[in-house]
């Protein structure tokens, strides 16, 4: 055990991880700077003040806003100040959400986003792998062609359209046909476990659509590459059963390229799906992001953008490290 931990290979991975960590921090620093600048010039609180009549936005309010957003300072100065607060866990105030700390609001919203993201991620992975394997093993069969067609439809279909379609199908048509409505079409309902499941089903299905379609195509390509490789041919020549060839020898290696995709998809899901959460009135980070933009609520917008950037960079790094761990052919130096 100790030998393994201190082996040259482990040390190389550790060194690579530390190197990536530092480069990620630099990347995050640059990314937050860009995001802060763009957010500052687009969600401009000065505009809110300019359009708010003095009867409602009196001197005290204006002073409060000026202090809160440091409107008397340049954008770089504001960024440095924001960064200083952010590293101490202060992401600002959600002015348009009861003037609560942004961290408090995100603390409420993130679990709801996770409730969508985790089932969507797990189910997507399982279904996409299954479909990818099936398509690769039965390449150019009717089933493969059908799945290919559905994959392209899934990739091409706008999320908001599919979400609304699900609402109409299950909420309106199904109800007309059967007199029952198995799923909630909007909102988060938590009266009991089945209520939660009924709330989750349609948004999770919507989230899965595009990712399943994309990952299935990717899985198919990866699997095809593997099952046409020499070692698989060798295994078959040795008389290994087809099931064992596919699931023990081919699938394991075919999954390696999918790790990167999964990492990025999970990062995207964690950051909140703006469209899906909005269509289904799901109280997660994504819908809050849109609401904050429309309300000119600068701090939450900035916090979510930075959170998204950090998650993306972190999972990119994890994917890179995992890729090397899973595939010994990959060298870190």
């Amino acid at each position: 055990m100790d030998d393994a931990a201190t082996s040259p290979g482990s040390l190389i991975v550790l060194a690579y991880t530390v190197r990536r960590l530092f480069s990620s921090i630099v990347l995050l620093f640059i990314g937050t700077g860009v995001v802060f600048y763009l957010t500052s010039i687009s969600s401009n609180p000065e505009l809110l003040l300019a359009t708010c009549p003095p009867t409602r936005c009196g001197p005290e309010f204006r002073a409060e806003m000026t202090e809160m957003y440091q409107l008397d300072k340049s954008i770089p100065q504001r960024y440095v100040s924001w960064l200083g607060d952010a590293v101490q866990g202060d992401l600002g105030t959600a002015v348009r959400d009861g003037r609560r700390p942004v961290t408090e609001v995100l603390g409420e919203r993130l679990p709801k986003t996770l409730m969508l993201a985790i089932p969507a991620f797990v189910l997507t992975g399982l279904i996409a792998v299954g479909l990818g394997v099936y398509s690769a093993v039965r390449q150019y069969s009717f089933g493969d062609n059908t799945l290919t067609a559905f994959s392209f439809v899934g990739i091409s279909m706008p999320t908001f359209f599919f979400g609304l379609l699900l609402q109409v199908f299950w909420g309106v048509w199904w109800q007309d046909w059967t007199g029952t409505r198995p799923f909630y079409v909007t909102g988060y309902h938590d009266a009991n476990f089945m209520d939660i499941v009924a709330s989750l089903t349609l948004p999770v299905t919507t989230l899965m659509l595009v990712t399943v379609a994309g990952e299935a195509r990717f899985g198919r390509a990866s699997m095809l590459e593997v099952i046409n490789s020499e070692y698989i041919r060798t295994a078959r020549a040795k008389g290994v059963s087809e099931r064992k060839v596919i699931f023990r020898h081919a699938l394991r290696n075919a999954l390696i390229p999918l790790v990167t995709i999964w990492a990025l998809d999970f990062a995207a899901l964690l950051s909140g799906s703006v469209i899906t959460e909005t269509v289904f009135a799901w109280p997660g980070i994504g819908s809050y992001f849109l609401r904050s933009i429309t309300n000119y609520d600068l701090d939450p917008v900035m916090a979510i953008m930075v959170f998204t950037a950090a998650i993306t960079i972190a999972f990119n790094m994890i994917a890179d490290v995992m890729y090397g761990v899973l595939d010994p052919r990959v060298r870190y130096d």
Partner: protein
Amino acid sequence: MNLWRSRKLAWSGLLLAFVLIAAACGGDDDTGEATTTSAAEQDATTTAAPDGTTTTGADTGTTLAEGDDYCAGGGEGNLIWAHEQEPPDMHLDDPANNLTTTAWARQALLDGLYGITAATLFFPELLAEEAVMTDNGDGTFTATFVLRDGLVWSDGDDLTGDDVKFTFDAIMALGPDTTPDDQETDPDPESDFIYLIGDRTGYDTVTEFAVTSPTEFSITWSAFFGGWKAMFAEVYPSHVFDADPAVAAAEMNDAFREWTLASGDPIPTSGPMMFESWDRGVAMHFVRNDNYNGSQSPDVVNTGIACVSGVDITYVLDTDAQVNSLKANQAHVIMTQPQQQFTELATDANFTVNPQAGPVWEHWGLNILNVHLAKTEVREALAHALNKQQVVETLYTPLFGDLLPAAGLGNTYWMSNQPQYEDHQGEAGYGTGDADAARALLEGAGYVAGADGVYEHPTDGRLTLRVGTTGGNQLRELQQQLIQAQMAAAGIEIVIENLPGGEYFSVPFGGDPTIWEITQFAWVGGPWPGSQTFSYRTGSGNNPYGYANADFDAKADECDQIVDEAEAAVCYNELDLFVTTLGPDGESGLIVLPLTQKPSFYAYSNTALSAGAISPDANSAGPIVNVVDFKLAG
């Protein structure tokens, strides 16, 4: 007096500016492709009131006889209203708040001395009868109020004149280091008040507030204030706040944000609902006030407590999803934009689309500081070339039927559904799309048609005018394009230059001709139209038209001082003639081309509900203002 007047005008104007922005930035991008039943087509029910008289209310599908229980046969449960905007907090006067959606939610929580009907008229709400206004003969005026007997708060405490006095004292409470004398010299007196309220107009001229019994009190003003009935639109419960008004005002600022007292209890209410909880991002929950004093609104059938056991306001940002929620019976009521969302609902027997004309009105405002628009002939040519009927027929009639006058709106002080309304522009022959009359006027002013048909003036150049509004508002953009074509037929070139909402209203609002030539947005009318005056007054910071007329200003002062409502109505109509015609002001008049009212409407499910409620006006009411009439299907 001068100080009072200037402050009053300033606050009125600034309030108007906010209302303007709220109305203009409503995010509607309506089109008028749909069809629906108009209010006139909907059956009204007639019911006997306890005194034996009859009451006409909304379409409930039932006729209520004396002694009948309105709620009988209805199902138990909460009314679910799906709405896109979640209020930042419940403090109506928080600058960071969204006024409209908060006001809509509070409509079901707190009653006021007067309410406003769907026809934009005042009715006594907490009052037993109309208050009596007396001219004291020394310039001061006193109104005597009588509250209804037996009024109580939702927690059972008596609601008395002391609560009204408390409300007044809290609104006017000053900070600890401020005295009334300081107010006279302070350049920014509003900042010295504690309670956050946008407008103290009317409150600030009260010289005496006397409570003579639990149900009787009187208020004396230093001068007559025409909008006195709009004051105390909410009365606050004194028994849950500190007796010291300054302390109470600060407590109220905190408590109203989450509708929760320092003790953790919700603020008691006088309306048909009580606040229960707020799951941010998901829903706000109200529960029925079983101590409700009953409604006196002429719009409702049910004069008792609400039939529904509560209200859930669920927040659904996407308007398509709102419609799907309604269709899926997951929501019972929606009130959203744009109009085309209601197209399918309006023709479906399972839903009622209920519109009211409302007080929000669209207009084209002419900046007379522009070299062309300074000429009366050009303004009159625009008025003649404009075809309001085509605008109404194309964009409004398909969805709202004959709810609005086919000839469009012809008055800026009174709306078409108010009894005081007179169609001044129609009577002047404007708004009929008379291109020949327009051309004749232009040619009389020295304009000559160019090769492309657009007129040119020998010294002032090509007759091209920019019109602007908040970009992304589909209804307005369609209106602009329609009118642009109408003007082109008369040789007037209209260039459409829209800006994003915030940017559009961030420019100076004082009639700068380099910014404003023709502006299109909405003003909001009401039962007291005097506040409209501020946008026309000389030098007003809220006057985008560059209008300045001392006679108008004097007449406006005169109108605001008239106690008799009928006489005041006549006066405001005379005032309107200054700005919508060339009658009283042949040189600088005719600065506004009112187009039409923009109806408010909502849709409710006929399958989930056995009775709906009359649609609210678009000003400050929302779907639950008449919540007592909603009845779930049994």
